[in-house]
């Protein structure tokens, strides 16, 4: 299990940043998804021991984050959302410094820093001071700094924010590459559904300091009940009327023999079969429609499931 939360709470004055956060997340790449202010960064900082929770327990890779924060940080890499840089150092020096802070020897740190900068695609500009970098280059350095000590899990906080489309693509490619290779597991905190859809296999959805969903993306997308595409034998069939009588919403899909059916809450495919039986219609094809991540996200947030 990558992360496990149990009744985690955190307040900042009158603001309740986290309310009884409970859940577990596992997988190679996990999206921590939610709008700004949902509590994602607070939760990450609690995992790292940078913030102390007001209550509850956090376990990172099986280690209690409050009991042994140093052991947790040895296994974690973190790329913060903010600037988080040391002006005056070059990209190479920044990454090597991060490695030395994790206990690597100077020489090993430099070698490893070069390796990580090759990985994130920062070329000769690695020798320039970080304050001269573009946002994209800076994000690469932060990812390299998070990876340099070979952690088992990397927390990336809004890594694509402020990037142009090309840089964003390249960074997401890198995350996919890490996910599919020998790299550490990844927790990607973002408010961008597309980033999660492209890179993650699991997701934890947060809103207003609470967990709305934690599980695989596939399970999330099939949670929306009762949306089907049908192809019927007779174009002018009475099936649509029979379905409407049973509370379903029916729409044409451009051809008279194709129907889009949304079932009422609590109903399943049996309702379609019973309507077909009652109307004497033959169903040639029945396909459950997969919800888009956006639909699934909106539903999860609305349901608070």
């Amino acid at each position: 299990m990558l992360l496990a939360f149990s009744d985690v709470q955190k307040r900042f004055g009158a603001t309740h940043a986290l309310r009884d956060v409970t859940g577990q997340i596992d997988g190679r790449a996990v999206g921590l998804l939610g709008p700004n202010g949902a509590g994602k960064t607070t939760l990450m900082k609690i995992c790292l021991g940078l913030l102390a929770p007001d209550g509850g327990q956090v376990r990172v890779l099986g280690i209690d984050a409050a009991q042994d924060p140093t052991a947790v940080r040895l296994e974690l890499g973190y790329a913060a959302e903010g600037p988080g840089r040391i002006p005056g150092l070059s990209g190479l020096e920044s990454v090597a410094y991060a490695a030395e802070l994790c206990g690597l020897r100077r020489r090993s740190a430099l070698l490893r820093a070069h390796e990580m900068l090759d990985l994130v695609g920062l070329d000769e500009s690695r020798h320039r001071p970080v304050e001269t970098y573009s946002t994209g280059m800076h994000q690469r350095v932060k990812v390299a700094m998070a990876l340099v000590h070979d952690p088992r899990l990397v927390l990336l906080d809004e890594p694509t924010s402020g990037l142009d489309p090309d840089s964003r693509d390249e960074l997401l490619d890198l995350i996919v590459q890490l996910r599919d290779g020998d790299g550490p597991a990844i927790v990607l905190s973002t408010h961008l559904l597309h980033d999660v859809e492209r890179t993650c296999d699991s997701v934890m959805i947060m809103q207003a300091g609470t967990v709305k969903y934690a599980g695989t993306l596939d399970a999330l997308q099939t949670r929306l009940p009762g949306e089907y595409h049908l192809r019927v034998a007779h174009p002018r069939s009475t099936l649509a009327a029979a379905l409407r009588e049973r509370g379903a919403a029916v729409a044409d899909r451009g051809r008279p023999d194709l129907l889009h059916v949304r079932l009422p809450e609590g109903a399943d495919a049996d309702l379609i079969w019973s309507a077909a039986l009652a109307s004497g219609e033959t169903i040639l094809q029945l396909e459950q429609k997969a919800a888009s991540l956006e639909e699934a996200f909106m539903a999860a947030v609305a349901e608070g499931a």
């Binding site: 900082k45 790292l48 021991g49 940078l50 913030l51 102390a52 924060p69 140093t70 052991a71 940080r73 040895l74 974690l76 973190y78 913060a80 903010g82 600037p83 988080g84 840089r85 040391i86 002006p87 005056g88 150092l89 020096e93 410094y97 991060a98 030395e100 802070l101 994790c102 206990g103 690597l104 020897r105 100077r106 090993s108 490893r112 390796e115 090759d118 990985l119 695609g121 070329d123 700094m145 990876l147 000590h149 070979d150 390249e170 490619d173 890198l174 590459q177 890490l178 290779g181 020998d182 790299g183």
Partner: protein, 303 residues
């Protein structure tokens, strides 16, 4: 395939072995000094410190050589006590003057040590890694302490060893006892300067503001204290670290009053209460500097 893809194709390689963790404080101190070294102002203030050392070295060596090869020591030359006295004066003066120049140097070099980290949001960068507050404290204080160690402590020992090396044989046993007090004066300077600049840096937001404020505080404090003591407020003397150090160093280096020197040499002399009060004041400055630093860390970093 673009050149970018080729770079990516190297892939992620787990580290073959992790090995024993190195103390991160060394890297923190080294990086802090490296960043300072890249500023031109650092080189200038270090050159000034070097000039002060050079001036005192010439003074000391010239004096001893003149007495050794000129008028001679003993029956036909200056009395031994006078030569010891002049060597003591060089060492005490060096500690006093170099304290001032090092205050400027350390303000330039270490003024941004903590302030810049706070301004750049680098605390998360540090403490998201397996680093304790103690590692950070040791690293930053160690980096700051290197400056007075290099400009005060090592030079005062060098001056003393030089005096020992070139002094006439009759003088050596007397000069020998100046070593411990000189060292103690140097250590006090290191402690006060390193802790106060880091404390100032911990409450500041910009390196330049901290540096200017620190230098101004040292100069203004000395001036105010001078005025107040002149006006009859004797206690004010203890408020100036430079003046307190002066008092303590004079006391430590005085052959008849040196507590350390006399105890080591077996000649006990009564305790100088003013010097003890100055010593207490210096330790209070060091404690205040360290306290500010620790308070800042405790308030911004979870332990």
């Amino acid at each position: 395939m673009s050149s970018h893809d080729q770079v990516f194709d190297i892939g992620y390689r787990p580290m073959p072995e992790r090995g024993r963790r190195q103390p991160p404080a060394v890297a923190i101190a080294r990086t802090m000094l490296l960043l300072a070294w890249r500023q031109r102002a650092t080189k200038i203030v270090l050159l000034i410190c070097l000039a002060v050392l050079g001036g005192h070295g010439v003074w000391l060596v010239g004096q001893l050589l003149f007495e050794r090869f000129g008028s001679g020591v003993g029956p036909s030359g200056l009395p031994v006590t006078e030569l010891v006295g002049s060597t003591r004066e060089v060492l005490a003066n060096f500690l006093r003057v170099q304290f001032f120049t090092t205050a400027i140097a350390i303000a330039v070099i270490a003024g941004g040590a903590v302030a810049e980290d706070r301004a750049a949001g680098a605390f998360d960068l540090y403490f998201a890694r397996p680093l304790t507050r103690a590692d950070y404290v040791i690293g930053k204080l160690g980096g700051a302490a290197i400056v007075p160690i290099v400009t005060i402590l090592l030079p005062v020992v060098l001056l003393w060893l030089t005096a020992l090396g070139i002094a006439p044989a009759a003088l050596r046993s007397e000069l020998w006892w100046l070593g411990v007090p000189s060292l103690a004066g140097g250590v006090l300077s290191v402690a006060v300067l390193a802790t106060t600049i880091i404390g100032a840096s911990a409450i500041g937001q910009k390196a330049r503001t901290v540096s200017v404020a620190y230098i101004a505080a040292v100069i203004v404090l000395s001036g105010i204290v001078e005025g107040m003591t002149g006006a009859g407020y004797a206690f004010a003397g203890y408020l100036s670290p430079e003046r307190s150090l002066h008092t303590v160093v004079d006391w430590l280096l005085a052959p008849q009053q040196s507590m350390l020197g006399s105890q080591v040499s077996g000649r006990y002399t009564p305790i100088n209460h003013s010097a003890l009060a100055s010593l207490t004041a210096l330790l209070a400055w060091a404690g205040a500097g360290f306290g500010l630093f620790w308070w800042r860390l405790r308030s911004e970093v979870v332990g």
